[in-house]
Amino acid sequence: MERSVKESVLKVENVSKIFSREEGSFGQKKLVENHVIDQVTFDVYENEFLVIFGPGQSGKTTLLKMMAGLEKVTDGIIEFGQKKISGPNPQLGFVYQSIALFPWLTVMENVEFGPKVKGEGKVERREKAQHYIELVGLGGFEERYPAQLSGGMKQRVGIARAYANNPKILLMDEPFGALDAQTRYMMEAEIQKIWQKEKRTVVFVTNNIEEALFLADRIILLTNCPTKIKSEYHVSLPHPRSYVDKEFLKLRQEITNNMDRTL
């Protein structure tokens, strides 16, 4: 199989996450434990578009944040390039659902933030930032502030900012979750186009089955909390995909039937 030849760039091995916090008042404090992730193991392969898909209550975001080093694992190991992840690593790009642009910086300044903190020269980093601003279709908006942009445009900046830092892997946490349906469809097509142009390894978290199937090479389906891997799907439909294609709908039905229900 083709996959077995491909190189694994990130390994998640037996990873668990338990959030614990103290609850109650003086005298009767107790430790409340919330078991979010339960012994999850999988690989991320070079240049694939991997979608982590699960019901609303699964620990998808927690899992992704652990892969980014933004959240500590309770148990298990996450390895990136033979090394254990122990904190944020600029070789991994992160795109937030909340977008998290720096509101006091312009589009250009946001996108060049990564190269700038690494000490790249002005000409070089501007050129790089300009390239990615144009790649996401925001040419002409370089001097705008985030507050002056629509939701879809803001997330384009978020994506350009992650790309401009030249990461090995892009981790995207429900990046289109806060957008309206129309913009969302547009952005899904856009991200596919960008990915075709600038191949990167992408790990994309979503709770939207259509989005998962539209984008993914491979889908990892998660269970409810405590989250395990329920199954895995390879999607080999050609791009650009159609939401009403027969094969697409068949897979959609299959995955939906296999999915845990949440209230």
Binding site: L70, P90, F94, A100, F102, P103, W104, K118, A147
Partner: protein
């Protein structure tokens, strides 16, 4: 939009005119210049003081001298306030060291400090700086503290993911995202500092708008007292407007 703005300005002017008119009518009914001088007399006297000196100086000089005192104290308050606020908001240790002390000093009104400030700093400008400083720095400290504490965690995460060091996170994320809070503090502090000018100039002085009031009190000159109050009010208003203007300029990104 434009006509609405015009309407609001007219409403503001009408309120002020109405206030003066009511004052005028009441003062005419009371008919006791030492108890309640007529609004027209106060306004007229106010303008006259720009030409005829009161004490050693004309009104322009009194205002400039007071502004100088407030200005120096305000700059000091801004520096100390931002440093303390950022320190307490960013470091738990600094917070543990400074916050309780700060909260104990904060409720002591600037006026209560007058005797000690004379003892420590003498009768010159230094003690006036000290009192105005005390009247304004806590607002800057508190707001900055609030801003630094409330930095969006995701912005810090985003900066870390882009490779920012601890130092860069502080200077490129924590500090700039506190700026709107700092400005809110400066806005209150500039007014508070300016209003403590009277207290500061109660410490032996021969000039300043606060001195006008203190001197008027000593001489039983009601009109001079009210002229001093009017000057403080108008300059305070202008200072607040100026701060808002600077804030709008510097914080264009925050203008949704």
């Amino acid at each position: 939009m434009k006509s609405e703005k015009k309407k609001n300005i007219i409403a503001t002017l009408l309120t002020i005119a109405g206030f003066l008119l009511v004052w005028q009518l009441v003062s005419m009914a009371v008919d006791n210049a030492a108890f309640l001088p007529k609004a027209s007399v106060i306004v007229l006297e106010f303008f006259k003081t720009f030409v005829n000196p009161v004490g050693k100086y004309t009104m322009t000089m009194h205002i400039l001298i007071s502004l100088y005192r407030v200005g120096v104290a305000f700059i000091l308050a801004t520096l100390v306030g931002i440093m303390m606020g950022v320190g307490m908001g960013y470091s738990k240790l600094v917070e543990a060291i400074l916050y309780p002390l700060f909260e104990i000093i904060r409720p002591i009104p600037p006026l209560a400090w007058i005797p000690m400030s004379i003892l420590w700093f003498g009768l010159g400008d230094a003690s006036k700086f000290f009192i105005i400083f005390l009247g304004s720095f806590s607002f800057i400290t508190l707001n900055t503290y609030d801003g630094t504490k409330n930095v969006d965690r995701e912005l810090i995460g985003a900066a870390r993911m882009l490779g920012a060091s601890e130092r860069q996170v502080f200077f490129k994320v924590v500090l700039p995202s506190s700026v709107p809070y700092i400005f809110a503090g400066l806005q209150i502090a500039v007014t508070a500092g300016w209003s403590s000018v009277v207290g500061a100039e109660m410490v032996r002085s021969d000039e300043g708008v606060g001195w006008l009031i203190v001197m008027g009190m000593n001489k039983g000159n009601t009109i001079q007292i009210m002229v001093g109050m009017l000057a403080i009010g108008i300059i305070g208003f202008l200072l607040a407007q100026l701060t808002t203007l600077v804030e709008r300029r510097l914080l264009a990104w925050n203008d949704q």
